[in-house]
């Protein structure tokens, strides 16, 4: 604790001078970065256009209300597609993520020098790129449609699932693995009876968690042509059909909340 002599009396302070100065310096740098960033954004904004934000918002709001309920009939197909993209995407992602996770975990990888870096590279590269970008790419490769969205969601989810799964594998209790090994079990038997039961709860949790996220993401994939309800959103936006837009947004909101509710229930039951 730094104590400073001031007029003969000792005064206690939280920090000594050096840490106080470094903290000030960091705050100053942070503030400057923020002010600079804000300036750039402000310069790229037409503030003259912002005078009537209230009117514009009100205008769009009144046009969007009430939602066109009759349009709901045309939405059941896209909703089903969205759900399929999310569910099948999660399924395929898990099928691919499991071997990657086993290759990436320090205690199960076949080779630390060769296989593990490759597995980590797969995890990082699939995880850093947003599913919309994957969808954009796949639309240009396999053509627009649900299939592109499905693959995009699968690829994006591999890294996420594999990362959480390999962390779970690294945290297992080695004693049980040793016990199975001591019975003379083969390598795959050690995996099935020693490792898999220990990571099963984590695996189920990850699957449901990712499914929840995938529902959110698959609702917007249609914006780049990759199927699902986003396709209807995009076409409604293009023709400024605000009552349809508000209906679609409402449907998406309900789907997301339902997905989160289901996922919370399932995770609560597992853990």
């Amino acid at each position: 604790m730094p104590i400073i002599e001031k007029n003969g009396t000792k005064v206690w302070q939280v920090r000594d001078r050096k840490t106080q100065f470094t903290r000030w310096g960091m705050w100053l740098a942070g503030t400057m970065a923020f002010v600079y960033s804000w300036n750039v954004i402000s310069q790229n904004t037409l503030w003259a256009m912002m005078g009537n934000i209230g009117e514009v918002t009100m205008d769009i709001g009144t046009r969007a209300m009430p939602p066109r309920w009759s349009y709901l009939d045309k939405l059941w197909g896209p909703i089903w597609d969205t759900l399929s993209i999310a569910t099948l995407g999660t399924l395929f992602a898990l099928i691919m993520a499991v071997p990657v996770a086993f290759m990436a975990a320090r205690n199960t990888t076949p080779s630390k020098l060769l296989v593990r870096p490759i597995a980590l590279l797969i995890i990082v590269s699939t995880r850093s790129v947003n599913s919309l970008i994957w969808a954009l790419l796949l639309v240009s490769i396999v053509g627009p449609g649900v299939f592109a969205g499905l693959i995009a969601i699968s690829i994006r989810s591999i890294g996420f699932c594999a990362k959480l799964l390999y962390e779970a594998i690294e945290e297992i209790d080695e004693v049980q693995v040793e016990a199975i090994t001591a019975t003379g079990a083969k390598r795959w038997q050690v995996m099935v009876y020693g490792i898999v039961p220990q990571i099963m709860p984590a695996f189920a949790g990850i699957a449901v968690f990712r499914w929840d996220i995938n529902i959110r993401e698959s609702t917007v994939l249609g914006l780049v042509g990759a199927g699902g309800i986003g396709l209807q959103l995009q076409s409604s936006l293009n023709v400024l059909a605000w009552p349809q837009v508000s209906l679609i947004l409402g449907v998406i909101l309900v789907a997301v909340i339902l997905g989160e509710w289901v996922s919370a229930k399932v995770r609560g039951a597992i853990i």
Partner: protein, 270 residues
């Protein structure tokens, strides 16, 4: 008990099934299989189109071995610059707004009405996808980074306020009570009793959110909300896969650097 044991003696051990009731187990398995079969069946795949597209897919992979940074360098640079600027500004504003909301959303600090309002804000922000918020804001505010900035700030609130509020609810009551006992005012109580306990988590979450905001800012451009996404979209539209590869490599590298830095900072503050 012994009768059960008696009947099992001599039979080899079998793994206990996932669900003990066989009816439920088979219903669940069959239901899941039927659903997956139907879902796969309902997806239309135009295999001839896929086959024709494989060529482009190959071009994309080749593009990664020879990314083209130079041709569109000006666009890439201005896009990246805008993304970073949006990320920094929105993270700062998002954190500044989330802290009071997190305090309000922690049941052990806030009274019930404030708790409900703040939880409502958090739920709303979490339920709305960033892209959808960006679309609405672009419709209202027009194209440009301002829409992206507000979108990311709004998304940050849902993430940060929720996790921070959970941390505040888990805090150790004793130091907070000790500060109370000195006769501290409410602000002093928060500042000396609560804040030091949640500070490491707040810094860690903020760094993590900076990382997420950068990744999200890369796609907001697709709907016209500024950032590198617009450049990326243009490159895709022109089938310039070498430029796409260059942009993606820059995004991946930036994300990795950010993750590495946040890792260092998080271990240092612990």
């Amino acid at each position: 008990m012994s009768a059960v044991l008696e009947s099992k003696l001599g039979t080899p051990w079998r793994k206990p099934p996932f669900i003990s009731n066989p009816t439920y187990r088979w219903l669940l398995i069959l239901g899941a299989l039927a659903y997956f079969a139907f879902a796969i069946y309902s997806i239309e795949v135009n295999w001839s189109r896929v086959y024709r597209g494989l060529d482009r897919g190959w071009q994309f992979i080749v593009g990664f071995s020879d990314p083209d940074f130079t041709t569109r360098w000006k666009d890439i640079r201005s896009g990246m610059f805008e993304s970073i600027v949006m990320t920094v500004a929105s993270t700062v504003v998002g954190i500044a707004i989330s802290i009071p909301i997190a305090l309000g959303a922690a049941r052990n600090i806030a009274p019930l009405p404030i708790y409900l309002i703040c939880r409502g804000i958090v739920a709303l922000s979490r339920a709305l996808n960033e892209i959808i918020v960006a679309i609405i804001l672009v419709a209202i505010l027009g194209f440009g980074p301002l829409a992206g900035f507000i979108t990311l700030s709004f998304a940050t609130i849902g993430f940060l306020a929720k996790l921070l509020a959970e941390d505040i609810e888990d805090m150790n009551k004793v130091p907070a009570e000790a500060i109370h006992a000195t006769g501290a005012s409410w602000l002093q109580w928060i500042n000396y009793g609560v804040q030091p306990q949640v500070m490491p988590r707040l810094i860690g979450l903020s760094m993590y959110r900076l990382d997420i905001n950068f990744r999200e800012s890369a796609v907001l451009g697709l709907v016209g909300a500024g950032g590198i996404g617009a450049t990326l979209n243009t490159a895709f539209d022109r089938y310039e896969f070498d430029t796409v590869a260059a942009i993606l490599l820059i995004i991946i590298a930036t994300v990795m650097v950010l993750e590495y830095m946040s890792g260092i900072i998080r271990t240092r503050i612990k």
